[in-house]
Amino acid sequence: MNLSLLIILPLVTAMAVLFCKGLKQVRTVSLIGASAQFLSALGLLWVYWKERAAGNNSQFLFDFNYTWFAPLKIHYHIGVDGISVAMILLTAFVVIAGVLVSWTQETLNKEFFFLLLFLSVGAYGYFISLDIFTLFFFLEVAVIPKFLLIGIWGSGKKEYSAMKLALMLMAGSSLVLVGLLGLYYNTNLDGAHSFDLVEISRMHIDTAVQNLFFPFAFIGFGIFTALFPFHTWVPDGHSSAPTAASMFLAGISMKLGGYGCLRVATYLMPDAAHHYAPVIILLATIAIIYGAFATMMQKDLKYINAYSSVSHCGFVLLGIGMLTQTSITGAVMQMVSHGLMTALFFAAIGMIYSRTHTRMVEQLGGLLKVIPFISTVFVIAGLCSLGLPGFSGFVAEMTVFMGSWQNPDKWYRLATILSCASIVVTAVYILRAAGRSLMGVVANNQYNQLTDATWNERLAAGLLIIGIVAIGIAPFWLYQLITPGTEFIMQQVGKAVSLK
């Protein structure tokens, strides 16, 4: 399968959108494009399985290498392993759901859908890149559309949030830039340097160099995935963004960071990953607990979900920091699960907001009686978030905990226990939010006239729920998909240990 298709499809759709007239055409074209992406992502999963079943054990499948900037040894090198396939699937789910919930986006619809689709170009490109220049390129491609999406179509203090998000993410990518260049100039491939992920992973980078540049890369990517204390763009950014942008932001964009931490920082600099593991775990634990407590005090539904994302993304970093096979697999599962769950959550919040024009918990109430479908979606997302078995959140978090526990260090175990305990806090804020806004008496007489979800909203929510339940009930397929990828990472990490 030609992986470039994943970049070309959204790009072509985005271009086609520019030539459309009127909302009807724009959204139809976008939906066709998003469905095509969705199908090709499913197709990718299918051919990937087939290839693996046929006994292809190479690390990356569908490898394609084109020399881009020959004098600088920059290649357009793409390929996928199970981790990337999982992330691509996630992206496809979120994109199609995002297009569906924006179905009635009246103002500047052409630009809106263009930017959404353009953002997905960045995400797909990022997940298939095997050259760290290309990867960095796509990482930055995804920044500015977010700025515009929030700033133009957002609500509240949108300009402030948009600017903050853009600057903090740019700060992240600047750090990544330093890290990548440091790595690049310390590679030695027959006297030349290399950006190629596979090639770098085969050579041994000096430990001192790794220790110097690992923090740049890790914190840089970490900012994207709400690493404490660089997470402050998350609440403001998510809460100001329009629904689809929040979904993309939390569902896709935050995953770029986690993926980068894993694929670039940890995989290419395993010695340093060991060296800095205590710091990572400390920060992740703080993010988990502190994020959960901070969430408890939020009154705005979007803030609740945004802060809880800080807490949930902490599990991703925790899993990566623990450096065991299971914990890293769990981290990837958590990325997928959180992506789907939080997209669903934001979709539900958006649906509520578009009807009631408020997101304040105390102004809502009794919604279950007037808009049962949306409320149910909300509850499902909430239950997934608090880790109820049967939904993906439980599977992912459980895997992270199990993996973390395998690390015998007693302080790490303490971190695991504390993180585990945070689930209680999660339950508190989720149930409180759900209870106050959905149960009880209808808070406002006008709410009685509200209409329940339209077909597009039902479809969007349905797709995401299918994803969540598919992972929650049958996690093995995802586990098996990811495991070969994490095994390669563990080999790398294991090599680092044996060298010590």
């Binding site: 881009w68 004098p71 960095f136 930055e140 491609v141 948009a162 830039l177 260049l181 440091g182």
Partner: protein, 470 residues
Amino acid sequence: MGLDFLILMKQEWAVIAILFILLFIKVGSKEWNNENILNLVNVLLLANFVAGLFGNRDGILFNEMFKTNQLIVTEKNILSLGTYIIALQSYSWLKNHKHVLEFYMLLLSTLLGMFYMISAGNLLMFYLGLELSSIPLAALANFDLEKRKSSEAAFKFIISSAFSSGLLLFGISLVYGLTGTLTFSDLSQHLNGSPLQIFAFILLIAGFSFKISAVPFHLWTADVYEGSPVTVTSYFSVISKAAVLFVLVTVLYTVFKPLAITWYNILYVLSVLTMVIGNLFAIRQRNLKRFLAFSSIAQVGFILIGITGSSHAGSASVVYFVLIYTFSNLGAFGVISLVSAITGKEHIEDYKGFYKSNPFLSWVLAISLFSLAGIPPTAGFFGKFFLIMAGAGQGNYLLIIIAAINMIVSLYYYLKVVKAIFMDANEHPIEKLRIPPSPRLAFYICIAGILLTGLMSYVYEYIFSLSTGF
């Protein structure tokens, strides 16, 4: 020698020919109307650019006073292209101007001066070219004849320029006194890094820095940029700067190679100062021209990082970045020039709600600014990445970190303009502007340049193959 001097100096001859054509029209009895002149000039400049692309040879003329090679030709072509774009953009402004012919004659004289400067094989020749390119610029800065600010800008420029030229000349005379030669190829053998040589070198660097407005030799920039007509400002900030940068790279990489450690450190200091001060000033600017002036100072800081790379990739990246910078900055200036010519508005506040009335211009401005900020997929990303990458080759990561921080700051103020255009509401936005065909063409060229020069890697590969390295 034979006809060599005709062929090797082909590009100069072309400019001279255009100058004469314009002169004949001026002295001729027939009254031309402005639009015809403008169209004619545009066609001639296009022809000049196209002619520059073909039939070039390497060679040396007049006792190494004049040299040319593929890289120099390419550099001149970049300048020609930039001048062509500026000519297209100035259409709205010059349409009703009384002295169109004079404007272009002055403009082309400076272009000619830059060509000679780039091709110079001798410090004196370089100085000659430099002066030919700056003195007419002062006259151009004064071209908004009714505006006092314009005259002020011209006056400030000529005074500062004279000051810097004086010191530059002082430096050149010191070099001559110490080495007994001014020819580039001989000079490098006589350089040994003695204190007086370093002092002379610092004077030369100061002269260059004045032209490319590196801090602390940049102070004239803001006032002159603000006062001059927008077209002239864009010429200042792109073409004039680009020419000096080209020479700077060549001179440092070949002539002053023996002093490499010294100039590396000097450029290190200058680039940090330039980035930081340029950015800090740019944050506060309300006037778009002034804003772009300071942002272009900061850009020079990044270019200096590329130069410090002292490698093949370094010199290639600088030329490549200048090409991209030409497209990006001219794209931005083009919009400002058009708006300023029709409405007279130049402040960031005036651009609030601009997107509602002028979506096309807004996108052009936004894409240009993104490119300046180094956001992919615009070419600016590649340009900046390669500059920083070249700089990182020296292993000085502190410089790279400072550059990275400055990229964030610069993103802030570029996005501030984008915010005004797209997000801020305005009761009386700039009305819908009609874009005449030639500026429209210029916008298309800029946008195409911004989108393609980065993604199409062979532009970089071509420049890389031409540059000689360190």
